[in-house]
Symmetry: C2
Subunit: 553 residues, 2 copies
């Protein structure tokens, strides 16, 4: 039963993506809401009128107290919930469509309403744009031509990959032309000596992993969304995920990107290159606001034969912290994941997902998953067992179990990876993705729990080894009182402790105006200058990443 649900869940996510890639104008390709919390989003909302061009440009209002649309605010910012369409942007006309058809051919210029509905909506159905056109370029040259045309016409665009983002970065806010890179899905080269993979931006992460598996290599990143997300999107959002503790961020493993309008070919395959400023880093994590990544060169890792996974229970957070330090020291070179969840998260998973059970017999306040990856089956396992035994003797661990086979390992991972799904089933959910000093991570959960009392269920889980907390607040519904208690409290708390309000999800449209909680005005001013430099007319993914105040006229 559980496996059936799992497969269904995966199918759903993959399908949403394949529908763009395989160009199937299929009724089934309209994804249903996972949680159902915004079911009729597209039929309501205030309309903004644009007086540029001949078209109305409609956007579902982001303001307060507008019926269903209040929900936008809940997920966005409480401080700046209104965005207006920039009147300087042109509106699409039939001549534009003809020009795009000349560049791409008819079938890769999509005006079909059903397919646009899908492309306008993010996978959580939290964000929804009103674009009338999706373009499907097949190569860098076509992307370049599209961007040059849009720049000349001052048509705003939104780059789109697998559309699996969590901050509304990959869907239009208003009528931006969608440039989906799903047709650019070829592996271009793989070098077994260096482990360098070169591929197009639209390659699905899991497909790359499958390809590499046949060569004896693995990708340096792994995400829950791997069945849908594109490597170009991963790079553009500097995706984190489960292997960061071992292989580091994409700033360390991505060797090159190709971005454009003016094609900026930085597609080397070299591990080391100190010739001038390393501009590719500007494109890693800039969420498509500086250019569109069309090709990626990435350092992959040899696949090691021995993977072990332990699931352990701890009484308190301090023990979790101590185990992390010990694991880094004692498991050192084989440690490949260190994830944690609190008992509220565990309860939620047990209550809302079928077929999941707690692997350890006792109920505790915290649970940790420790994964090792190495090249020596016997030794690695002995090492992990010895480590757990020592932790048990020290009283850091109250119970623990090591997966005996791949099925058991999958069932352990199912708990950690199932939290998102369980949260959506539980009702309304407010999601925050914070980087904090490890010792502070659980303090914000406790503080918020005290602050909200009976109003909501506060959960903490995430990538403890990287200092990355996923703070989630589950409630019966979205309401002003609750959001007022959460924001800006969470952002202020994070800022006060020198944390980051976005560890791995990016800012998108959700947190563009909150950037100052994590970055100084001087830093943001330089970002804005760089944006101006690379995208003078501001057509690339507008309203995202940088605060709207910087671009108001």
């Amino acid at each position: 039963m559980m496996m059936q649900r799992l497969r269904r869940s995966e199918e759903f996510i993959r399908f949403g993506c394949e529908s763009l890639i395989n160009l199937r104008p299929n009724k089934n390709s309209v994804p249903r809401s996972v949680s159902g919390f915004v079911t009729h989003y597209d039929t309501k909302g205030k309309l903004f009128e644009s007086n540029v061009g001949n078209h109305y440009n409609t956007h579902r209002c982001l303001g307060r107290n507008l019926g269903m649309l209040q929900q936008y605010k809940c997920f966005g910012s409480s401080s700046a919930s209104q965005i207006e369409r920039k009147p300087l942007f042109s509106s699409l006309d039939s001549k534009d469509v003809s020009s795009f058809k000349e560049i791409l051919g008819d079938k890769n210029v999509v005006e079909d309403e059903e397919r646009l509905e899908t492309a306008n909506t993010d996978w959580m159905k939290k964000y929804k744009g009103s674009s009338k056109l999706m373009l499907l370029p097949k190569n860098t040259e076509e992307v370049s031509q599209i961007l040059q045309y849009c720049d000349s016409r001052r048509l705003a665009v939104v780059p789109q990959g697998g559309n699996t983002g969590l901050v509304g970065g990959s869907v239009p806010v208003f009528d931006e032309v969608i440039i989906n890179v799903g047709l650019m899905n070829k592996v271009l080269a793989f070098d077994e000596v260096s482990g360098v993979l070169v591929c197009e931006a639209g390659c699905i992460l899991e497909n790359l992993a499958t390809f590499l598996d046949t060569k004896g290599f693995i990708m340096p990143l792994d995400l829950g969304a791997k069945g849908s997300c594109h490597i170009g999107g991963n790079v553009s959002t500097n995706a984190g995920g489960l292997r960061l503790i071992r292989y580091g961020s994409l700033h360390g493993t991505v060797l090159a990107v190709t971005a454009n309008g003016n094609v900026l070919d930085m597609l080397g395959t070299l591990r080391k290159d100190n010739t001038g400023y390393d501009l590719k880093h500007l494109f890693i994590g800039s969420e498509g606001s500086l250019g569109i990544v069309t090709k990626v060169s990435i350092l992959t890792q040899p696949k090691l034969s021995s993977v072990n996974l332990a699931f352990i229970a701890c009484k308190d957070y301090l023990s979790c912290q101590k185990i992390l330090v010990e694991a880094k020291k004692n498991l050192g070179e084989i440690l490949s994941a260190f994830e944690f969840l609190d008992n509220n998260s565990m309860d939620l998973v047990l209550n809302h997902l079928d077929g999941v059970r707690n692997p350890v017999s006792s109920t505790e306040n915290f649970y940790i998953l420790i994964e090792t990856t190495g090249s020596d089956e016997t030794n690695d396992r002995e090492k992990l067992e010895a480590f757990l035994l020592k932790s048990l003797e020290k009283g850091l661990v109250s119970d623990g179990v090591i997966a005996q086979d791949i099925n058991q390992a999958s069932s352990f991972w199912r708990i950690r990876e199932g939290i998102t799904e369980a949260l959506q089933k539980a009702g309304a959910v407010y999601k925050y993705d914070l980087s904090l000093p490890v010792e502070e991570i659980y303090n914000i959960v406790n503080d918020l729990r005290r602050r909200l009392g009976e109003l909501a269920n506060v959960m903490g889980y995430g990538h403890l080894g990287d200092g990355n907390l996923h703070l989630n607040i589950s409630a019966a519904d979205y309401n002003d009182k609750l959001i007022g208690l959460i924001e800006p409290y969470v952002y202020e708390w994070t800022s006060k402790h020198r944390g980051s309000i976005s560890a791995e999800h990016g800012l998108g449209v959700m947190k563009a105006n909150e950037i100052f909680y994590s970055k100084s005005p001087e830093t943001v001013a330089i970002m804005a200058s760089i944006k101006k430099l690379l995208d003078p007319k501001g057509i690339l993914n507008p309203y995202k990443v940088l605060p709207h105040s910087l671009f108001s006229h």
Copy 2:
């Protein structure tokens, strides 16, 4: 005897740096030439006059056929060997000196000729400026004040750390004011949970390593120059070195830098932060041309207990390549260095350094050092032994030995790290630092050997695991015929094979004009725009990194 030489050599390098840091106006602080190939550089050369301000601004000519000064050209570029002082820059006057004294106090404004002689000259004595002033700020605020003043007066500056660079990046070209950060040498914080170290830019790499050792951690980088080089300089040049294969480049491990004029505080200590463009990467590897790094936050690694080192001999380069692939697969998580040298390099070391002997009995064409670092003494050693045995059986290795103790390990490393010293003793040396696809690495050595015939001794060694070749040409003296045969041949060859003309040394003044061999005009144009954005008057480390043509008036 060998150890004595080693110590002497280290003392020399450290001393040059300490003399700046401890402010000892000591006769002995003028470093002697290591190789002696440019002994009277400062008494010759054509003078360029500046007609701005009241001072002559002298620079030793970079042109051809000027007696001793021909040597500049030998190490620099054959295509653009002349640089003129930018007349827009002001010249230092007494009011400036008074202003600096107000900011820094008298003793940290250095006009002493002997100390300036040291600070004007790079450690190889290849590059020499004519600055009349060195400033020694104690903190970020003072650096900021200095830069604001210099910007307002349009006084050019050169940031300086340990002055151990290899491309003339850390000394003035003309009369730039030297800003040496050697007094900013405090560790500010260390977090044993996350392993994050925060320190000032002037901390010497080895001192940081010593500090971390007491905490059970190691730095993620290790260089021959560790006894002198500063972490700020390491970051500014994106230094590579011996551990890159294991821990990746500084783009992956440096968490933050603080740069200024306008203090750009990006000094987080978080492993993950996706709030806007990650600007710190602009400062990593930009060689002080965009800002001065004043503080660094860096992810360190737990110190593991078991280090093993093997020294092996191989018949041909293809075997080296195959061993690399096998080592990555079989040693996987414990592999921490993979260095190679050819027999010409070995011969040179044996001939020019005392007390060095070939650890393996047979003379072969290639030698490889393989280091492993792990947490399990017995198992790691068995693994390395099994790997070597297998390689021997496969015929990839013709002989090999594993170091039995730390002394033996030091003697192995002495061979690899002694090549630079041996080269300088052997006569004139032309140094190139190339990134190439691993399979191409030795082809350029062979091609160049054929091309130069009896004229010179061509050596190849370096960080094979990272695709980084140190190509060195040793000859009796510097001459036009030889440089004409080497350049632009080496750059063209590298460019043709999509390599980088600077893997880890940077461009500095040596290769600023050669950037187009590795970067497209579009990319360089954007670099120039970013330079203009962050340093509108161009006062930060002028004549370096970017081609002079971009800034000619």
